[in-house]
Symmetry: C2
Subunit: 224 residues, 2 copies
DNA sequence: TCATGTTATTGCTGATACTGCAAAGATCAG
DNA sequence: CTGATCTTTGCAGTATCAGCAATAACATGA
């Protein structure tokens, strides 16, 4: 029911959708989203302005649609893996492996973080997408642990913690200038911190300290 | 610098701001935000449409400005209190006390959650506000624990966990129909779950189980 | 009290965004 | 090939929003 019999119609739909979001992303990187009009995106994507409204409710959603979609893979893996470890640890391992195996995808995600800092109007919409993912993940945690998603805080809390761990890691990593090989330890640190009830291990005041030159003064940072 | 010498000007500014957001809230509850125009809000608040644009960037922000602002109190209390306990536990106590002492404020917050479910366009903007709070809280955690907000995942993770604990509790509580006296235990459960690294205590599969009749079938829940 | 500077409010205007509707074009199934 | 279905498009109407200048309200100091 997913990629089964995709006729020409479905193919063209995805194609125009991708064209639009790619055009939106390109123009946004060039001029800033506030300077980009629907009409421009339409020209760039070879569609009519009206068509853009058919696909996206706003410029912001069009830009965000160009972001990474690989999260679904991790969600799948989480649901199918059957370990007896606590969900957070499983998620931590999955994310860590993901950072190791598909660095370009994480890099793309971090690039979106930067794009968001340059274009604040993106933030609300990115967050809305994020919440959808957290809800999805929460349901999976509930199913996996046999808890009730609607009556128990547990699944949602775990999902939120995992999301925060990943996003905080990405944000710090992007801020430090994407240092090679540093993301994975950051992710592991974040997840183990959550699993430890946010109590620092005495031995590691700042265990995965980045180069201090990368973030000399820290006027305003953008986590989450 | 806060409530010091508020001249007539500042007073009137706050007054018109409140008028606008109150009008926006009232009309939204009556007809749904999508059916409300800026012009209507302007009439209701006895200001010109142009003035609304001066105060808020969108209808959504106007509505959200009518929400509870008491979070600042908790942030203040967190910064001023000087306990040696882990920040999450301090925050948990503060929120629990808050739920006990100012139930009407929490109820208002939960009402906003419901309003958001009825008017999905509110969500992105509420989330954006939420993130601002989390960043603020993260900075305070950093200051309190002597960690570096910009170089260390710890402060942001703690702040995110606290935010998730509160919001998840509110969401569940609202979904269950605001049962009297149930919010505080939910909050305590959520915070202690986070402090315990999201590991259930063996004795409590669902320790703060709500009346099962309150949530018979759970088609789509809205945490976070 | 008055005079003057400062700031908020307002109307106007132009640019942009979004939606419903109906026509035109593309794809599909037989 | 033909009719059905769906996508794309143009058009028209409504709504949003920001810049600008004028007006009104408040503040400050004498």
């Amino acid at each position: 029911m997913d990629d089964e019999h995709l006729g020409l119609r479905e193919l063209k739909k995805r194609q125009t959708r991708d064209s639009i979001s790619a055009a939106a992303l390109k123009l946004t990187e060039e001029k800033g989203l506030s300077e980009v009009t629907i009409e421009e995106i339409a020209r760039e994507a070879f569609v009519s302005p009206r068509t853009i409204s058919n696909y996206f409710a706003s410029k912001e959603e069009a830009v965000l649609a160009a972001g990474p979609v690989a999260t679904e893979q991790v969600l799948q893996d989480f649901s199918t893996s059957n370990s007896d470890d606590p969900p957070l640890e499983v998620l931590g391992r999955l994310m860590s492996n993901y950072a190791r195996d598909y660095p370009e995808c994480l890099r793309k995600a971090a690039r979106m973080v930067e794009l968001e800092e340059a274009n604040p109007s993106l933030r609300p919409f990115r967050l809305a997408r994020e919440v959808e993912l957290v809800i999805d993940l929460g349901r999976r945690v509930a199913q996996r642990t046999g808890t009730d998603f609607a009556a128990d805080v547990y699944p949602s809390l775990v999902a939120s913690a995992a999301s925060a761990a990943l996003l905080t890691s990405l944000s710090l990593w992007a801020q430090a200038g994407f240092p090679e090989g540093r993301l994975q330890p950051l992710i592991e640190e974040s997840f183990s911190l959550a699993s430890a009830g946010y109590r620092r291990r005495a031995a590691s005041p700042i265990s995965v300290q980045l180069e201090s030159s990368a973030t000399p003064q820290s006027p305003d940072a953008q986590p989450v």
